[in-house]
Amino acid sequence: MVKKSGSSLQARLGVVSRCVAAIGGGYALAALSSVVLALTLALPREEAVMAASMPAFLIFAAAVAWAFCARTAWLAWAGIGGPALVLALAVWWLKPVVTAVAV
């Protein structure tokens, strides 16, 4: 997309890959962050949901920005996929605990 490499296939694929990382990866990261936050906040249910979801949009925005400013498309994916993986593990570990406490 930069002048010199404007039409090269690799550059185009890089942009497509970043777009997927930004929209798909960014959304997944935001969703996971809201779930982890909701599971960890000691608030009444309705408030926990709100408190967890409101900042998630900012995380989404940050992920999108990262997807396009990272030096390479691989780095873009790593910067989003890494934290997402950590959060997914946290959900996997937290969910049974929280459900058990509630029951």
Partner: protein, 537 residues
């Protein structure tokens, strides 16, 4: 991806701004109109009577309900505020939305038959379009959410890209050449109301976050609460009870007595009184009469204060105290700021102007995209399809939307009152007019298409006050006598919009002559520095 952070943000600004820019423009314009949705409804229904929010109106509403819906399980009376003007009644027979009916109360002080109030969506059309875009549920809301997220991204990346804007704020260079004027307008509107844009896009996401991010809610276990009856069961109960004998119907005299009680409890200290009353499970021993109060003027969205009484004995039913934490408070303020229900006339106009500036911001951004690339394509001798498409969609969206809105208002005055499905016809006229604008934009040369559509917008909008005077002049005079200026304010506002369109059409015509034969202007050094996006294809 680019060499610097700023360059990559410029790229992001360009493309997030463009891709859903047309949707965003339509959302911004209809949202801006929504600030005055009650006033627009009143203009579109000039026959609508006005009522005072008092006992006589409640009495008339209940009497009317008794006449037409004595069997219904639920009744409601809604009293008007200063903006909406008319009181309405509603009732529900059976389950779900099918059994739900609403009616505007006829005028109280008028002898003889009341004029038929024309069927129209009124200002509600703009309100609904603003977040549903006439698309089937839930896709309109998802598209609107995507547009809000794109806007939020475009704003953040725009701040990084256009830091220069804050310095260049006072440099308005009208009419010298196209990109400069558009850029300066983009600059001025961006800087003037930046916090408003950030707020409006973020709060849009927060309002529908249960749709956009339902995951936290899904994963948390339900809280067990004793005594709360699910809504469906409650409705089913209403249905069952409506089939019973009418032994337990609350009588009108008692409801009025309860109204007096609620009204006097709330109006001590000149506070706002009863806004709504609702009678549920009318034909059963569980009948209740509930009153809710007018908004008390806070910014946040709060549940209106409520008083509930047993419908048979008239005893007060205790209300559960609501838990309210800091998070709920923050959420309700973000939500409330978007809807701006708290805003009085002055502030409401302020929001309206910020909404207009936001529309100009989006429009100039879209136009800049084409202006920056145009000369390059012209000197290369070939205009790519993508560029052609963006140019046409810009015209069809920016002027086309106003043609559609203008047509909607004209249809409101010209369609016969007796037409079946009149409200839907108005919306169809809006959509056909928009489709026509798209077609017109595709077949005409760019410059001519802009000018012709601007002239049509100017004609439609500046002609509206005249049309209004000819078609509903009598109502106009009576509303002036009653000191209600919303109708006149509407006429003046559309006239001003029409004149703006005239001016734009005239300026565009003048520019065309001046520019022909000139070599394409090269971006100056400062502009190139200002706009790293210009090196992006």
């Amino acid at each position: 991806m680019k060499k610097t952070f700023r360059q990559s943000m410029a790229w992001l600004h360009t493309w997030t701004g463009l891709l859903l820019g047309w949707v965003l423009f339509a959302i911004m314009v209809t949202g801006t109109a929504t600030y005055f949705r009650h006033e627009i409804t009143r203009w579109m229904q000039p026959e609508m009577p006005t009522h005072a929010p008092d006992r006589a109106t409640v009495n008339a509403g209940l009497t009317r309900l008794q006449e037409i819906a004595s069997k219904a399980g639920r009744w409601g009376v809604e009293l008007p505020d200063a903006r909406s003007g008319a009181a309405s009644i509603w009732w529900q027979e059976g389950l779900g939305r099918q059994g739900f009916k609403r009616e505007v109360l006829p005028a109280l002080d008028q002898a003889g038959p009341t004029p038929q109030v024309r069927d129209t969506r009124g200002g509600e059309f703009f309100y609904r379009f603003h977040f549903q875009l006439q698309l089937p549920h839930p896709w309109g809301r998802y598209l609107a959410g995507a547009a809000a997220m794109f806007m939020f991204m475009a704003l953040i990346s725009g701040i990084v890209t256009h830091r220069q804007f804050f310095k260049d704020f006072f440099a308005f260079r009208p009419g010298k050449n196209n990109p400069r004027t558009a850029l300066d307008l983009h600059n001025v509107t961006a800087v003037l109301a930046l916090p408003f844009y950030l707020l409006i896009s973020y709060s849009a996401l927060v309002i529908f976050m249960h749709m956009y991010l339902p995951w936290a809610e899904k994963v948390l276990p339900e809280e067990k609460e004793a005594g709360s009856r699910p809504k469906a069961a409650q409705m089913a109960g209403d249905k069952a009870s409506s089939e019973q004998s009418a032994s337990g119907v609350p009588d009108l005299a008692m409801i009025l007595r309860l109204y007096d009680k609620a009204q006097s409890q709330w109006t001590t200290g000149a506070g706002p009184g009863v806004r709504r009353l609702e009678i549920s499970s009318r034909n059963s021993p569980e009948a209740t009469v509930a009153f809710s109060r007018f908004d008390e003027g806070g910014v946040g969205m709060q549940r209106a204060a409520k008083l509930e009484f047993n419908g048979i004995t008239g005893e007060a039913v205790e209300q559960k105290a609501e838990r309210k934490g800091i998070v709920t408070a923050i959420h309700s303020v973000i939500y409330g700021l978007h809807l701006a229900r708290f805003a009085g006339t002055g502030l409401r106009w302020g929001f309206f102007f910020m909404g207009m500036m936001g529309s100009v911001l989006v429009a100039t951004g879209l136009v800049l995209w084409t202006l920056k690339r145009r000369n390059r394509h012209l000197s290369a001798g070939r205009v790519p399809f993508g560029h052609w498409l963006v140019e046409r969609l810009n015209i069809a969206t920016i002027t086309g939307l106003f043609i559609a809105i203008g047509t909607l208002f004209w249809a409101n005055r010209l369609l016969p009152l007796s037409l079946a499905g009149r409200g839907d016809w108005e919306v169809d006229c809006f959509l056909y007019a928009w489709g026509f604008a798209l077609l017109h934009a595709c077949v005409r040369p760019v410059g001519k298409a802009w000018r012709e559509q601007l002239i049509l917008v100017a004609f439609l909008f500046s002609g509206l006050p005249l049309l209004d005077a000819f078609t509903v002049g009598t109502y106009l005079r009576s509303s002036v006598r009653a000191g209600q200026w919303a109708h006149e304010a509407f006429d003046v506002a559309v006239l001003v919009l029409g004149l703006v369109a005239w001016t734009a059409a005239v300026r565009l015509a003048g520019r065309k002559v001046k520019q022909s034969g000139k070599s394409p202007t090269r971006p100056t050094a400062s502009q190139a520095q200002d706009e790293p996006a210009s090196e992006v294809a």
